[in-house]
C-alpha cells in the first residue's frame, strides 16, 4: 500500500480547504462552496470507509506517520463518523446560510479545517498531535459559533465556549505535561510502557486532569456549563456540527488514551483508577442532562441537554469496556455513528422548518407545523425516535448494545445500565413533547406561522441521514463487524 494513502483523508481535507479559499475569492455564488466542502469531506470519509470495509492491513505504515497518527481500523472508523458529520453539516449550512442571508464563504473553509482538526484529534497517538488537533478543531469551532457576529446570543455563547474551552485545553495539557514528567515520553504507547516505574502520585494527578479536560470537551456533567449557551447561540448548522463531529472526535481520542495509555492494571482498578471516576461522571451526566432538558422552551437548548445526556450513555459504554473489553468499545463506536445521523436529522429538520425572518427555535414556533407541513416534520420525528432509542432505528440498536455491554460487565455496572434506561424514559418525554407541539397544538392567535424553507441541500442531507438511520437499524451487519474489528485491534 502506498504510504500516501495512510494520510489521504487528511491531505484531502487540508488541500480542499485551501482550494475553497481560492474559490471563495473568485466565485459569486457562495452555495457552490457548500457542495465543494461537502464533497471534500464526503470523499475523505469514503476513502476511510472503503479502507475500513475492505479490511486492508495497515501493519506496514511508516513509523513517521504512526508516531503521531493512528492508521488502525478504529482511526478509520472515527474518520468516517467525523467526515460524514462534517459533510452533512456543510449541506445543512448550504441551505441555512442562503435562506438567512448569512452567505459568507469562510464558514465552509472553517468547517473543513475544523473537520481536519477533528480527524487529527481522533487519530492522534501522541500528546503533541492530540494538542495540535484539539486546538485546530476548537479554534475553528469558536469562530463558527460566533459566525453571526452582530447577534449578542452568538457572541455570548462563543465567548463562554472559548473561555471554558481554552481553560479545559490548558488543564488537559498540564495533565499530559505531568504524564511526561512521570514517564519521560509523550506518545500514548511510550507513556504506557514507562508506567511501571512512574511516580503513581504524578500519574494519578495527570490522569484526573486529563479526564477533567476531556469532560469539558465531551460536555459531561459537571463540565457542561458552556454547552447549552454555545449550542443556542451558534447558527444551527454549526450546532449540528458541534454536536456530532466535535463530540465524536473528543470521544475517539478519549477511548484511545484510556485504553492505550491508561490500560494498565493499576489505572484500570476499581480502587485507584479511572473506572469509578468515569462511572460517576456517566451517572451524573445521564441524570442531569435528561432532567434539565425537560424544562426547556427552546428546542435547540433542549437538544443541547439531550446531547449532554447522550454523552452520559456513551460514557457508560466506555466504563463497561474496562471489564467487557472490545465488545463495549465496538458498542461505543456504533453509538457514535448512529448518534451522528440521528442528530443531523433533528437539527436538519429544525433548519428546514424555518425560513428567513422566522427561524423555528422554540417549542411555540413549532405549533401546528406538523399538520400544515407533515413532510418537513417527518425527519424530526425519525431523528428523535432514534435518539430516544425506538426500534427499528439505529439509535435503538446503539442503546441496546451499550446497555447490554454494561449488564454483561456485571456488578455496579448493572445499576448504571438501569439508570441509563430510566433516564432514557425521561428522554422520551421531552422528545415526544416536540411532536405534540407540531401536531396537536394550534398556533396562538396572531402568532407568525412557521413556513418551511425550500432547499435541495437540506433535503439531500436529511434523505441521506434518514437512509442511514433506518439502514443501520435494520441491517447493522457490516458496520457492526467493522466496529468490532476496530475495537478489538484498538484494545490489542
Amino acid at each position: 500500500m502506498n504510504d500516501w494513502l495512510f494520510v489521504a483523508p487528511l491531505l484531502i481535507l487540508g488541500l480542499g480547504s485551501i482550494l475553497m479559499m481560492l474559490v471563495d475569492a473568485f466565485a459569486k455564488e457562495k452555495s457552490e462552496l457548500a457542495i465543494l466542502s461537502s464533497i471534500t469531506m464526503g470523499v475523505a470519509g469514503m476513502i476511510s470507509a472503503s479502507a475500513l470495509l475492505s479490511g486492508a492491513e495497515a501493519a506496514d505504515a511508516p513509523e513517521m506517520v504512526t508516531r503521531f497518527l493512528a492508521v488502525d481500523p478504529a482511526a478509520l472508523f472515527f474518520d468516517v463518523v467525523i467526515c460524514f458529520g462534517g459533510a452533512l453539516s456543510a449541506l445543512l449550512a448550504g441551505g441555512y446560510l442562503r435562506e438567512h442571508g448569512l452567505e459568507r464563504g469562510e464558514f465552509y473553509v472553517l468547517l473543513t479545517l475544523t473537520t481536519l482538526g477533528a480527524v487529527v484529534l481522533g487519530r492522534s497517538t501522541d500528546m503533541l498531535s492530540l494538542f495540535v488537533g484539539l486546538e485546530t478543531m476548537s479554534l475553528g469551532v469558536y469562530a463558527m459559533v460566533a459566525f453571526r457576529r452582530g447577534s449578542s446570543t452568538a457572541i455570548e455563547g462563543a465567548v463562554k465556549y472559548f473561555l471554558l474551552g481554552s481553560f479545559a485545553a490548558a488543564i488537559l495539557l498540564f495533565g499530559s505535561a505531568l504524564m511526561y514528567a512521570a514517564t519521560g515520553s509523550t506518545s500514548f504507547t511510550g507513556i504506557a510502557a514507562a508506567m511501571g516505574d512512574a511516580d503513581p502520585k504524578l500519574v494519578l494527578i495527570g490522569l484526573l486532569l486529563i479526564i477533567a479536560g476531556f469532560g469539558f470537551k465531551v460536555s459531561a456533567v459537571p463540565f457542561h456549563m458552556w454547552t447549552p449557551d454555545a449550542y443556542e447561540g451558534a447558527i444551527t448548522p454549526a450546532t449540528a456540527f458541534m454536536s456530532v463531529a466535535v463530540k465524536s472526535a473528543a470521544f475517539a481520542v478519549f477511548v484511545r488514551i484510556l485504553f492505550v495509555t491508561f490500560g494498565d492494571e493499576l489505572s484500570m482498578s476499581l480502587a485507584s483508577g479511572w473506572p469509578p471516576v468515569l462511572a460517576g461522571l456517566a451517572a451524573l451526566t445521564m441524570v442531569y442532562g435528561n432532567i434539565a432538558a425537560v424544562g426547556q422552551e427552546n428546542v435547540k437548548r433542549m437538544l443541547a441537554y439531550s446531547s449532554i445526556a447522550h454523552a452520559g450513555y456513551i460514557l457508560v459504554g466506555i466504563v463497561a469496556a474496562f471489564r467487557v473489553g472490545s465488545e463495549a468499545v465496538s458498542a461505543v463506536l456504533f453509538y457514535l455513528l448512529a448518534y451522528t445521523f440521528s442528530n443531523i436529522l433533528a437539527f436538519g429538520s429544525l433548519i428546514l422548518l424555518g425560513s428567513r425572518g422566522r427561524e423555528a427555535v422554540s417549542f411555540n414556533d413549532l405549533r401546528g407545523v406538523g399538520r400544515r407541513h407533515p413532510m418537513a416534520a417527518l425527519p424530526f420525528i425519525l431523528g428523535t425516535l432514534s435518539l430516544m432509542g425506538f426500534p427499528p432505528t439505529a439509535g435503538f440498536l446503539a442503546k441496546y448494545y451499550v446497555f447490554s455491554a454494561a449488564v454483561q460487565a456485571g456488578g455496579s455496572m448493572i445499576l448504571l445500565a438501569i439508570l441509563g434506561m430510566l433516564t432514557s424514559a425521561i428522554g422520551a418525554f421531552y422528545y415526544l413533547r416536540v411532536t405534540v407541539f407540531m401536531f396537536m397544538r394550534d398556533p396562538e392567535p396572531g402568532q407568525v406561522k412557521a413556513i418551511p424553507m425550500k432547499s435541495g441541500y437540506v433535503v439531500g442531507a436529511l434523505a441521506i441521514s434518514s437512509l442511514f438511520v433506518l439502514g443501520l437499524g435494520v441491517m447493522p451487519g457490516d458496520v457492526l463487524e467493522a466496529a468490532s474489528r476496530a475495537a478489538s485491534l484498538l484494545l490489542g
Binding site: M127, L128, F131, V132, E135, L139, Y142, A143, A146, R149, G150, S152, T153, I155, E156, G157, A158, V159, K160, F162, L163, S166, F167, A169, A170, I171, L173, F174, A177, L178, Y180, A181, G184, S185, T186, P228, D229, E232, G233, G295, Q296, R301
Partner: protein, 102 residues
C-alpha cells in the same frame, strides 16, 4: 547546589494554580485570557524542565514551541471574540454576558 526536578514541578504547579484561580475568580474576560496564558506557561516550564532530565530526545522542548505557537493563535481568536463582545455589550465583564440563562 543542584536544583532538582521537584523544584521545577513545584514552581509549575504554583504557577498553574495562580492561573486557574485567576481564571475562576476574575470576571474580566481579558484577565481570564491572561490567566489561561499563565497556565500554558506553567505547562511550558514542565516540558522544558523535564526534558533536561530525560535528554534522550527533545520532545519536551519541541512541545513547548508548539504550545507557544498555539497559545498565540488562541489569543488571536480570543481577542477577536472579546472585541466582538465589547462592540455589542460595551463591557468585557463576562458576568454581563447573561442573555442566555435558565
Amino acid at each position: 547546589m543542584e536544583i532538582g526536578l521537584g523544584a521545577y514541578l513545584g514552581l509549575a504547579m504554583v504557577l498553574f494554580g495562580i492561573g486557574a484561580s485567576g481564571f475562576l475568580m476574575r470576571r474580566n474576560a481579558l484577565i481570564q485570557l491572561m490567566s489561561i496564558e499563565v497556565m500554558l506557561n506553567a505547562v511550558n516550564i514542565v516540558f522544558v524542565a523535564v526534558n533536561r532530565f530525560h535528554p534522550a530526545d527533545h520532545v519536551g522542548q519541541i512541545f513547548s514551541f508548539f504550545v507557544i505557537a498555539i497559545a498565540a493563535a488562541e489569543a488571536a481568536v480570543g481577542l477577536a471574540l472579546v472585541i466582538a463582545l465589547f462592540r455589542i455589550k460595551k463591557t468585557v465583564e463576562s458576568d454581563n454576558a447573561d442573555t442566555l440563562r435558565h
